[in-house]
């Protein structure tokens, strides 16, 4: 009756090991999805962009309006990412380190930009700062243009990317705890030194990851920016807006050329993220091992 004893009982097969067929099916599904929804579209974008030749491609992206869109997008990211980082670190610090009334409310408030549609976020700024609003009217009368101008685009992008770094850092800071900071203080370090030499190095990978995600979102944001931009050619068109505009003008090659550039920027960002995370894996493991020990203790 030996054949009745399942093979697993011999201890050769780990409990979590699936059969070859199951593995093939799972892998197949993942790869098919990856191909259909990621690889084919990206290839299509590049193919379309280069359809009329490399010269046409470079002509399309060196068009003054395209160039201004690229510059505006880079400017927006360059302003939004550092601000997002500063806010994210400050908010995560406050939430992870201190107990105060309204803390849960703050956590909820931080998430609002993720919860509402970007278009609504954009409209919010138009309602608040548009020429017909009291604040907007006052600003316009003093010669400050925010809506349908570059500041509006930056504001809207700031708003939609608001939670990214904070969300990334809150769990990390909470998990790390404040003991190392306390140790630094007892050893005589002042607040600023403690922050620079202890807090920041401990969260730097999380913060960089947040910055990378924020950058991707800042460059790719369409909805909110579209509402506040006013679509002034060569002035308030970011890359996504420009792509849509030339696409609607049936200039497919130009649209795809800029789109491919935007895709490239996104890919660079993601590759950067990949390397950051690969580098930080040691730090992540070290971080993860600590709470386990605490439980064991």
């Amino acid at each position: 009756m030996n054949w009745l004893i399942p093979r697993a009982a011999e201890g050769r097969k780990p409990a979590t090991c699936e059969t070859a067929a199951v593995r093939a099916i799972l892998l197949g599904i993942a790869l098919i999805f990856l191909g259909m929804f990621l690889v084919i579209p990206v290839v299509a974008v590049v193919y379309q962009a280069l359809e009329k030749g490399v010269a046409a491609y470079f002509a399309a992206i060196s068009e003054p309006e395209a160039w201004s869109a690229i510059r505006l997008t880079l400017l927006t990211a360059a302003i939004v990412v550092p601000l997002n980082l500063i806010f994210g670190i400050a908010a995560a610090w406050a939430i992870a380190r201190f107990e105060f009334t309204g803390k849960n409310l703050l956590i909820t408030l931080i998430d609002i930009p993720f919860a509402v549609s970007p278009v609504i976020s954009g409209m919010l700024f138009v309602l608040l700062l548009g020429a017909n609003s009291p604040i907007g009217g006052w600003l316009v009368s003093h010669g400050i243009r925010i809506i349908f101008a570059v500041p509006g685009i930056i504001l809207a992008t700031l708003f939609v990317t608001f939670p990214i770094t904070a969300r990334e850092l809150i769990p990390i800071m909470t998990a790390i705890g404040s003991e190392e900071e306390e140790a630094a203080m007892v050893l005589g370090a002042n607040g600023w030194r403690t922050f620079l030499r202890v807090t920041l190095p401990n969260v730097k990978w999380g913060a960089l990851y947040g910055a990378v995600l924020c950058n991707a979102r800042a460059m790719g944001e369409f909805g909110a920016v579209s509402v506040v931009s006013g679509h002034i050619r060569g002035v308030t068109e970011t890359m996504p807006l420009y792509v849509e505009m030339v696409y609607n003008d049936y200039a497919f090659a130009a649209a795809f050329a800029v789109a491919s550039l935007l895709t490239l920027l996104a890919l660079v960002t993601l590759i950067l993220k990949h390397f950051l995370l690969a580098d930080s894996s040691v730090a992540v493991i070290a971080r993860a091992s600590e709470p386990v020990e605490r439980i064991a203790a």
Binding site: V186, L187, G188, P201, A297
Partner: protein, 357 residues
């Protein structure tokens, strides 16, 4: 440097962590704060360090009120329970941290820092680990590095929060002896928190037994162990059997056996109805037959564990309470005990502790 804690009270929300605690610690002493978790011992330690601010009361260092000083200004050494080593710095940089963050005019130069760090790492016997990261160290090594880092700033007071709590028994023993030697060498006023009574009794010059936010007793190991101030201290320091007894005519009865109670001052007011009686397992003797004098009670052996320096015998008293007795092996062999045997238990000394309820 001496430490004086005056009438300190600390609450966290509704929870009273410390209630009017006062304590004096002399220069060069090694004092243990001993208590269960939640007894307020760690809070007291953190208040001394300035990591926690008391609701009321003051902390004095060397007779000077230090309550207003921040943790940074108090210049105490604090060793955290989980070491709190800087995980992104090497062992060397961890130990050098306290020197590097000094204001420029007090900061030693690089060769001085290097010499000092290596001296300290040699002192704690982990010099060979200087270039490692904390995650690559064992628990005992981390503890030594944490101590070296603390000593680097030459603190006048050393505070240790459960210094051996997260280590396994063998390493703990070793580090304990080592810390005692280190203290004898450096003579820094030291306070450590522990929930391990054995650790407190072995290491400390004086033991502070804490319970529910206040101090139950302060004394040498000898004093708190042999002359406990109250039932809590007696119960907390070592194993005890707890019996629910009756009080009649100034005598304490367990079942229908009168127990001799002589050396406790609480005897004077033995006139209520019920009493809790505490007896240590090694202070009970097992007799095969009812001895003279009647100060014993019958019980049945339920379990015998002869592994270890003493034989642990579990019994059930006639009235149903579980009883633990510890015998030496010689006595155990002489008695020839077996499970199920009917025997008589006699408190060997008069160190029976009675607590009126």
């Amino acid at each position: 440097m001496s430490i004086e804690i005056r009438n300190v009270r600390k609450t966290f929300g509704d929870f009273v962590a410390l209630e009017d605690v006062s304590l004096e610690i002399a220069t060069g002493e090694l004092v243990a704060l001993l208590g269960l978790s939640g007894s307020g011992k760690t809070t007291l330690l953190r208040i001394i360090a300035g990591l926690e601010i008391p609701d009321r009361g003051t902390i004095h260092f060397h007779g000077e009120d230090a309550s207003g000083r921040s943790a940074r200004e108090r210049k105490v050494g604090f060793v955290f329970q989980h070491y709190a080593l800087f995980r992104h710095m090497t062992v060397f940089e961890n130990v050098a941290f306290g020197l590097r963050v000094r204001p420029r005019k007090d900061r030693p130069n690089e060769p001085e820092i290097e010499a000092r760090v290596h001296d300290l790492l040699k002192l704690v016997q982990v010099d060979f680990l200087a270039s490692r990261y904390p995650s690559q160290l064992s628990g005992g090594q981390r503890q030594r590095v944490a101590l070296a880092r603390t000593l680097a700033v030459e603190p006048k007071v050393l505070l240790l929060d459960e210094p051996f709590g997260a280590l396994d028994a063998k390493v703990r023993q070793e580090l304990r002896r080592w810390l005692k030697r280190l203290h004898e060498e450096l003579r820094i006023t030291s306070v450590f928190v522990t929930h391990d009574q054995e650790e407190a009794l072995e290491l400390a010059n004086r033991v502070v037994v804490m319970n529910a936010g206040h101090i139950e007793q302060v004394g040498t190991a000898e004093e708190v162990y042999h002359h406990p101030a109250n039932a809590f201290v007696y119960n907390f320091l070592g194993n005890v059997n707890l019996f629910h007894g009756r009080v009649e005519n100034g005598k304490v009865y367990l079942g229908d056996t009168a127990v001799e109670v002589q050396d406790t001052h609480e005897r004077a007011h033995l006139n209520g109805n019920k009493a809790l009686v505490y007896v240590r397992p090694h202070l009970l003797d097992i007799e095969p037959k009812r001895p003279e004098g009647n100060h014993c009670f019958p019980a049945t052996v339920t379990n015998i564990n002869p592994a270890g320096p003493q034989v642990k015998v579990e019994l059930v008293a006639k009235w149903g309470d579980m009883v633990q007795v510890e015998l030496d092996h010689e006595r155990y062999r002489k008695l020839g005990l077996a499970e199920g045997a009917e025997v008589f238990l006699r408190p060997r000394e008069k160190k029976v502790f009675v607590y009126q309820i």
